[in-house]
């Protein structure tokens, strides 16, 4: 117990970093996902291909390799220099983006065709149809799947410790190095991740009730 209390200020520092990276990455990831999903569904062939290649490349490679690529790989080029946090955020965001894109695409495609037909028959453009009719309904349906991906992305941030980002997991390592209390501290770190994920699912069930499908 004492070990945990002594380590707590450091762990909370790490928690802050984890939350910071997660929030930025998940927002970026969502935007990336939305854009890629719209590319994927676009009638323009080139956009289609870009989206397909992006999704396949990200889904087809381990996130740890992506992290090394963005941090060590890109930084080895003369004209690019990322700090660790930027590389970490990009990795998690792009990874979440690829999965979000597939979730959003499936959600849009699962919409009843009659909704688009009604909107278009009223003279709304395809963009207005997406914005006012399709996406609002599709997003509500996708909420549970979004949460799932958000939880996965939150856990993925713990991998960022391997490039030396001082996140919650990294702070766990550091405090153990001085206290040698591996059991207590990893337990505390696990509990902190658990709390974050629990709050995330509470937030989602709140949103699901708030935006209940009628």
């Amino acid at each position: 117990m004492e070990a945990i209390i002594n380590a707590l200020p450091y762990l909370l520092e790490g928690l802050k970093v984890t939350i910071y990276i997660f929030v930025i990455a998940i927002i970026l990831g969502f935007i990336i996902g939305l854009i890629i999903a719209l590319f994927r569904l676009s009638p323009i062939r080139v956009l289609n291909w870009i989206a397909k290649i992006f999704i396949d490349a990200i889904r087809g490679t381990p996130i740890l390799v992506q992290l090394f690529f963005f941090y060590y790989g890109l930084n080895s080029l003369d004209f690019i220099s990322f700090d660790r946090t930027t590389a970490g955020i990009i990795t998690v965001a792009i990874n979440a983006g690829a999965y979000f894109a597939e979730i959003i695409r499936a959600g849009i495609q699962s919409m009843d065709k009659g909704q688009s037909e009604a909107a278009r028959s009223l003279g709304l453009t395809s963009t207005q149809n997406m914005r006012h009719i399709i996406l609002p309904q599709a997003f509500r349906r996708m909420l549970p799947t979004f949460t799932n991906q958000a939880i996965i992305s939150l856990k993925d941030t713990s991998l960022l410790s391997v490039i030396g980002i001082a996140d919650l997991t990294q702070q766990g390592h550091i405090t153990i190095a001085s206290s040698f209390k591996a059991f207590e501290i990893w337990f505390a770190v696990g509990a902190m991740y658990f709390m974050m994920i629990y709050l995330l699912s509470l937030l989602t069930s709140f949103m699901e009730r708030r935006f209940e499908l009628r």
Binding site: D112, G114, Q115, E117, A118, A119, R120, S121, L122, G123, L124, T125, Q128, H132, I133, P136, Q137, R140, L213, R214
Partner: protein, 242 residues
């Protein structure tokens, strides 16, 4: 004045030719009912009139504008052509009022207060003023369809298309919807109605088209077509449905 001109319209889905050379003219204020067996192509014909289906060949001219022309602004033309669907297709995430004011505000740029005023008048007309703040899920089928009609009318269209508007309704709901449509016909709306309601076709329409196997097999004023069908296919069809 001619409101709709269809010239040599053809529509194929892959190798399946659903409409084979349809030509017809519909005048302003005319009410035309389209009848025929399932799979005859009558709904596809209707959906070609506002280009919900891509047109394989031929021309459809709405109020002087060829919608098949490359430079045609289909969104603009659709604003003049209201459509009512068998499955209503109300927007479930929006209230009745929001369903009605969306297109006038977004497509026509009508200010909100004005759109609401028009919407309330239309809801009064279809007898659902008290449902303005309900969601579609809270309405019966007949109420949904009347809202759908009000939504289409809110764009103040020149033409109204009805695609089997009463086919998904419980029998006791059909009357209310038909009553609204009759009222509309009396007010001089140009209407094309795909329907199985032979009573409505007989009573309200100026002309009935019988579509069979992708062509207009016979057309006439309803009194003549129902009493003395000339085409053998029309006779066979009417003997089954009347």
């Amino acid at each position: 004045m001619t409101m709709i001109t269809v010239k040599n319209l053809r529509k194929s889905f892959g190798n399946l030719e659903v409409l084979r050379d349809i030509s017809v003219e519909i005048k302003e204020k005319e009410v035309v009912c389209v009848i025929g067996a399932s799979g005859s192509g009558k709904s596809t014909f209707l959906r070609c009139l506002n280009k919900l289906e891509d047109i394989t060949d031929g021309h459809v001219i709405i109020d002087g504008q060829d919608i098949t022309a490359k430079e045609a602004n289909i969104n603009k033309i659709r604003q003049e052509v209201g459509m009512v669907f068998q499955q209503f297709n109300l927007f479930p995430h929006k209230t009745v009022l929001e369903n009605i004011i969306l297109a006038p505000m977004k497509a026509r740029g009508t200010v909100k207060e004005e759109a609401i005023e028009t919407a309330m008048e239309l809801l009064e007309k279809v007898g659902l003023k008290e449902k303005a703040d309900s969601y579609p899920g809270e309405l019966s089928g007949g109420q949904k369809q009347r809202v759908a009609i009000a939504r289409a009318l809110a764009m103040n269209p020149k033409i109204m298309l009805f695609d089997e508007p009463t086919s998904a309704l419980d029998p006791e709901m059909v009357g209310d919807v038909l009553a609204v449509m009759k009222q509309l016909a009396r007010e001089g709306m140009t209407m094309v109605v795909v329907t199985h309601e032979m009573g409505f076709a007989r009573e309200v329409s100026d002309r009935v088209l019988f579509i069979d196997n992708g062509i207009i097999a016979e057309q006439n004023v309803p009194g003549e077509l129902f009493a003395n069908p000339r085409n053998a296919r029309t006779q066979a069809f009417l003997s089954k449905v009347l």
